[in-house]
Symmetry: C2
Amino acid sequence: MIDKLIDKIVEMENPVCVGLDTKFEYIPEGFLEGEGSALAYAARNIYRYNCALIDAVSDIAPSVKVQSAYYEMYGYEGVKAFYETIQYAKRAGLIVIADVKRNDIGATASAYAAAYLGQTTVLDDQETAFNADFATVNGYLGSDGVLPFVELCKKYDKGIFVLVKTSNASSGELQDKVADGRPIYEHMAEMVEEWGIELVGRHGYSAVGVVVGATYPEQAKRIRERHPGMFILIPGYGAQGGSAAGLLPNFDKNGLGGIVNNSRAILTAYKSEKYAGMRFDGAARQAVLDMKQDILLAFRENGIAYR
Amino acid sequence: MIDKLIDKIVEMENPVCVGLDTKFEYIPEGFLEGEGSALAYAARNIYRYNCALIDAVSDIAPSVKVQSAYYEMYGYEGVKAFYETIQYAKRAGLIVIADVKRNDIGATASAYAAAYLGQTTVLDDQETAFNADFATVNGYLGSDGVLPFVELCKKYDKGIFVLVKTSNASSGELQDKVADGRPIYEHMAEMVEEWGIELVGRHGYSAVGVVVGATYPEQAKRIRERHPGMFILIPGYGAQGGSAAGLLPNFDKNGLGGIVNNSRAILTAYKSEKYAGMRFDGAARQAVLDMKQDILLAFRENGIAYR
């Protein structure tokens, strides 16, 4: 799956991931329709909004990241919209990252892995629950918590991104603590490299990747230098303060090695002056194209190009 | 909510939490009924099984812990069963811990907090999504990831348990790394104490508690000594190897300070020789009573008693 993701990035010359962190408040009033309980109504419209966005970007973006928090807040109806969004995006040819940051131990980690990447057995049936292509995982619990995911990555050709250095201001409180001469996030990156060593694809990157915030280019640089085969999911671009130039350390000279997520600036592009007068889906498409251009310009200025 | 939990523990003289990690495979064939898709069928029967268990233990156990992984593996139908289980347990008077180990940053952490402890706004409606009493949280991301939960604990009288030292064999890979002379899990405990300082209840314990595995009594002892106001959710008893004597360091001389989860040995008690011939719910009830007796015996032998 990591090879498919990279192939798509190269084919579209676009390392942008569209973040579907869709809050009900983002949806223009005129687009709302339907009835039912408040949560079901919200969930239904979030799904409709996502479908329109997916239709608008599926030929220019390789991937979407669906953030489970924004669905769970609408209860199980929201989780149904999460499921349906994943399936709709996959049918549209997008590679889907379920941003669930799950973590637990042993059998429980296996249950999460089955939910997002694998299959569930009921009597003689084998069913998929959410069936994303990638999931995000929190590795605080150690190998027991991550290996069940890695196992299913092998079995079903999937991938994971393990949190290493998150984009938020307070991420250093724990992640930057220094043990044995290295910050905790580097220890985590070393563990991730070991977990993914058998899953390196033909582009040289492992299906077991990491999350490093766009807000921490210095840290990205160290990780890229120490772990050349580590693919990086990069959140925190735009609204959180990450810049195109700051992204460069994540990438190799062929423009590979990372995918840059942006959620709010794409989802709510229609509200910005820059895209005034455009419908939300057209504005989102243009915002993806503009973000792509910003990144490709920074690439070009630094001798990085897809080959 | 931490006061209510402690009141109930004292009233029932029982620090046992019943873990509803209900896998479809645990349900006796004769109990199964209904039709529909495989996942919906499994989810429905898991909910029915949980209801019978809740009915069997609600007068002797203060609390249940519902592990979301075992519901998510059955897809959104499973998540509906998770929701319904929480509501059924609350109606039965049990205090419900949603074991979700959620973690994210800023607005996304707020969305998770709203989902499990708070409310969601849809136009003019305020709705609850899952509405548990407590949630478990992973603090790897630092304050940004946890404070949104703490805020809702204040606002809605709820509580959280932050992962400190987990019960699994490999928990030390990251959690035991030593920084500034102390292991990472102790740094985490210190952060938790700060986060919860304004939420200390009348028993002297904060609504912002921690998770420390029953498999690590030495570590529990250090945490209890350094953080006398920290309430501990203790998984890993029984199947994972934690013993009644090993639990003692978690508790103060009045038997307060912790709640001990047990899942598999209760859920599948009917399969053990000890409870041969009993129906699953009666066996579960007896397993809870036996576990309570084991703990109270260890208490008594060490001069610990509810007062």
